[in-house]
């Protein structure tokens, strides 16, 4: 008899625990009753976006100019070598 009662009570407690916990977890959070001041913002909020934008555009411009300059320099070197070779050949 006692064993049966204990089994019934424990089943009830177990069932309540299983059903009530998810139900409690699904409750919406309590409404905000007051504003909480903060001195430090989370990193995503405090990042200066304009700096990132300017950095991105500056990088594109620098990359484009550096690459164009590198082609121009390599081309000049090859053409100078061609002229030197042509001069050497004509001297013979």
């Amino acid at each position: 008899m006692i064993r049966r009662a204990l089994l019934a009570v424990s089943t009830l407690v177990f069932t309540l625990a299983l059903t009530a916990l998810p139900a409690l977890a699904l409750q919406p959070p309590t409404a905000q009753g007051e504003f909480v001041p903060a001195k430090d913002l989370p990193p995503t909020e405090s990042i200066p976006a304009a700096t990132l934008l300017v950095a991105a555009y500056a990088f594109i411009w620098v990359a484009a100019i550096v690459y164009l300059f590198s082609i121009w320099r390599r081309l000049n070197r090859v053409e100078a070598e061609m002229h030197a070779l042509a001069r050497k050949t004509s001297q013979r």
Partner: protein, 220 residues
């Protein structure tokens, strides 16, 4: 070369100079604000990177098949431009992501595959520079492999769940963003053509120099 290069340089220079004005007047994306303006150069750079990788792959396949030196020159020039535009994508993307996602980088499919695509183009350049005789064929095979990666980069955002926006974002841009976006895309595409023309010319001059040296050796 000069016939194409000089007018193209003038047009691209003018378009590049006007691009910041156009972008400054473009609309912001509501949730990201000012940083969303990176879109106008980040996404077109990605498009040009993929185009360049495809050009490199196709030119390499032609070189492997027909042994055409002209195709090899196009492949070489395109590989370098894939590396350049890939670098722009890889640098500007994290600058945007830091504000939009709160992190510089995430190993999600689009970012990872783009990074791998960029590494393949850099590997091609290393192979061509340091692998010695036969590096042209080895590099060409690598470029074909790299171009196979391109469709996967493109569809990755639609197939897998990623942080990166989907490909549907560009065709559905609102009018206030569409104009500046396609203007920037055209500017970068013409810039790519300009650099490709110059880079192919450089390869042609190098080939001529090699021929001159060979002729000189034969004579002496």
């Amino acid at each position: 070369m000069r016939k194409v290069f000089v007018p193209l340089l003038v047009v691209v220079g003018a378009m590049f100079a006007y691009a910041p004005v156009m972008i400054a007047h473009a609309d912001y994306e509501v949730s990201m604000g000012i940083v969303s303006k990176i879109l106008y150069f980040h996404a077109p750079s990605g498009m040009v990177m993929l185009l360049s990788a495809m050009v490199c792959g196709v030119a390499s396949a032609i070189y492997l098949w027909k042994k055409s030196p002209a195709a090899d020159r196009v492949a070489m020039a395109s590989a370098e431009l894939t590396a350049l535009f890939g670098l722009i994508v890889i640098v500007t993307g994290p600058l945007w992501a830091k504000k939009a996602w709160g992190i510089w980088w995430d190993w999600e499919p689009r970012l990872t595959m783009s990074f791998v695509g960029w590494l393949i183009s850099v590997s091609y350049l290393f192979v061509r520079k340091y692998a010695g005789p036969g590096s042209d064929k080895l590099g060409a095979a690598l470029a074909v492999f790299g171009s196979v990666n391109v469709p996967f980069i493109y569809v990755s955002v639609n197939v897998w769940r990623t942080l990166h926006p989907k490909t549907t974002v560009v065709p559905t841009l609102p009018p206030g963003m569409r104009g500046p976006f396609w203007y920037s895309a055209l500017t970068l595409f013409l810039f790519y053509l300009l650099l490709l023309t110059a880079r192919i010319h450089l390869e042609r001059q190098r080939a001529m120099l090699d021929e001159l040296y060979l002729a000189e050796e034969d004579r002496s």
